[in-house]
């Protein structure tokens, strides 16, 4: 029996249902819509579990679920060495959101990541501490800035309302997920166009060991996905 994990709430769940329905597999919640149980029809040997999108990467890596739908950002942020544990089977075309670096819109001298690096150095010299970037995507942001050789910054943890940290003077810049950029604009922040850290979307992901089983290959064929080369 293959276990498929889907986000338990909101649009991501609805759109996942639609995506599978479009490929001949009808997924639905059983019982009331407060109950986290669900069933799959139209295919043999597939069971459905609903769980928090943020926990899906961990459950996939551990092999407690074999397939899952989650953001490609969460896979990379939550699983160190993710390619060793999981395989991305298909981007699903919804849940688009970009992890971006954003700075105050009033910084009219900050147009590129190079400007940002230079401002960070000046800031550190003027204030005696490293320029602070508020984020919850520590690993992705650090890897991106390290690859682009940006120094003189530090990350500060922000698990919510991240766009407000700049006005609250607890950070000078933020790195967060955005789809329309509206919240950023409302908080007088602007995106650095050459600092899009990751373009995320909902992705069908499989545990690496599960990919090698016949059951997964059959399901992939049913979904019309190209056979996966592990």
């Amino acid at each position: 029996m293959l276990k498929l994990g889907l986000p338990s709430k909101g649009r991501l769940m609805e759109q996942s249902f639609d995506w599978f329905a479009g490929r001949g597999i009808r997924l639905s919640r059983s019982g009331s819509d407060r109950e986290y149980a669900a069933r799959a029809e139209g295919v043999e040997g597939l069971s459905l579990v609903l769980l928090s999108a943020g926990e899906i990467p961990r459950e996939l890596a551990a092999g407690r679920i074999h397939l899952g739908v989650t953001g490609s950002d969460l896979i990379r942020e939550k699983l160190a060495g993710w390619r060793s544990d999981v395989v991305e089977l298909a981007p699903m075309g919804f849940g688009h959101a970009d992890l971006v670096l954003a700075v105050p819109a009033c910084w009219r001298d900050c147009e590129t990541l190079d400007d940002f690096a230079s401002i960070a150095r000046d800031f550190r010299a003027a204030h005696g501490f490293r320029l602070r970037i508020a984020t919850k995507y520590h690993r992705l942001v650090r890897a991106f800035l390290s690859e682009h050789e940006v120094a003189d910054y530090q990350l500060v943890d922000s698990q919510g309302a991240t766009e407000g940290t700049v006005a609250n003077l607890t950070a000078e810049a933020i790195a967060d997920i955005t789809s329309t950029g509206e919240t950023l604009r409302a908080n007088h922040l602007k995106i650095l166009p050459d600092a899009v850290i990751h373009e995320s979307q909902a992705t069908l992901v499989a545990n690496r060991r599960a990919v090698e089983t016949g059951a997964t290959a059959e399901l992939a064929a049913h979904l019309g996905l190209p056979p996966h080369v592990a």
Binding site: P104, R108, L145
Partner: protein, 355 residues
């Protein structure tokens, strides 16, 4: 698999050799305040060190290296010259990106180290020769670098002081350094920044921004760098080979980059002092860029000892001069300092009976 006890035994033998060289053994804490390390190493340290929170002390780190606590201890109470040695575990996270390696590196391992705080001109040679002697039975390859050469070359460029400082700041970040060098070598049109109506937000002040804008809108101070300088710097960065041959090359280069002449003669004196301690300089590989790949705090000689047949290993021993670090930690007071560490665990695996 070498048992931990065997690794400790090798570590104690190395420690004895350090003590015989006049060092006092010190035993810094394992839990270190994280803020000093974070300020020094930046975010890199969060990717590499284990950080945890103490309800009273705040953020603390499991000791990622000994240099910082030893320097702090010395700055607080030491008299010069001073020689310290230590043996203990360090802890390093190994977060490798997208794919985990088949043979991940150790998360905790022993370091045996020696640190020398001294103004004596042959301090570099003393430390290098000590490590060379201890490791001689292991038949390792010795590589030496010299950040002094590179930093002096940058300091001597015909550019404005802020531009030279910027290049020196990014010398450990090769891509950024090259981009800056390209920018400074071309005629740079002044930049113009559009006014926008966004309200001011955040801690960075409008005055800070205006200062940067007026700097950039004024364009370059002085003419662009003659492209010959970029070529000379690249030649300097790529000097590598047996130390005496490299020294000859550097002397020729010094005719074109006069700013490095003194550093070249200091290198020559260091190699002589090393030869006087019975080591053939021709057996040392000099790599001018060696220090660009090490921790940012080395600002003079750097060295490493690597095992030829183990390309996947980190250096068995490494070290260098870190005067700049003592300046940062000493709140204005600086003490010339040079030191290094040996990894007893790797020595034990080579089964080469050091000391």
């Amino acid at each position: 698999m070498i048992p931990r006890t065997a690794k400790s035994a090798v570590g104690r033998r190395i420690l004895d050799a350090f003590r015989a060289a006049g060092a006092v053994e010190v035993a810094p804490d394992i839990l270190l305040p994280a803020d000093t390390l974070l300020d020094l190493y930046g975010e890199d340290i969060r990717a590499r060190a284990y950080l945890t929170t103490d309800p009273i002390r705040g953020e603390v780190a499991l000791r990622p290296d000994f240099t910082v606590p030893v320097v702090e201890m010395h700055m607080a109470q030491g008299a010069e010259p001073a020689r310290y040695c230590y043996l203990g575990e360090v802890f390093r996270k190994q977060d490798h990106g997208d794919t985990r390696p088949a043979h991940p590196r150790d998360n905790e391992y022993l370091q045996a180290g020696f640190e020398l705080f001294s103004r004596a001109p042959d301090a570099d040679a003393e430390v290098f020769a000590l490590f060379h002697g201890i490791l001689a039975p292991c038949r390792l390859s010795a590589t030496m670098g010299d950040m002094d050469l590179l930093l002096d070359a940058v300091a001597g460029l015909p550019l404005s002081a802020p531009r030279r400082a910027l290049l020196a700041h990014h010398i450990w970040r090769p891509g950024r350094f090259e981009r800056l060098l390209d920018r400074f070598s071309a005629v740079e049109p002044p930049r113009h920044f559009a006014i926008n109506g966004a309200p001011w937000t955040g801690l960075r002040s409008e005055a800070e921004m205006e200062a940067r804008i007026s700097r950039l809108e004024a364009g370059a101070e002085g003419p662009p760098l003659d492209p010959a300088w970029r070529t000379r710097l690249h030649r300097l960065f790529s000097v590598a080979g047996p130390a005496p041959t490299a020294l000859d090359e550097l002397r020729i280069l010094a005719d074109h980059i006069p700013a490095i002449a003194e550093a070249v003669e200091r290198l020559s004196a260091r190699l002589n002092a090393i030869a006087a301690r019975g080591i053939d300089p021709a057996a040392i590989r000099f790599d001018a860029s060696h220090g660009r790949h090490t921790m940012e705090y080395y600002d003079g000689m750097t060295f490493s000892f690597t095992a030829e047949g183990r390309p996947d290993w980190p250096p068995v021993a490494s070290g260098g001069r870190y005067d700049a670090l003592t300046r940062v930690l000493g709140q204005g007071e600086a003490i010339p300092a040079v030191g290094g560490i040996i990894r007893p665990g790797l020595v034990a695996e080579l089964e080469c009976a050091p000391c």
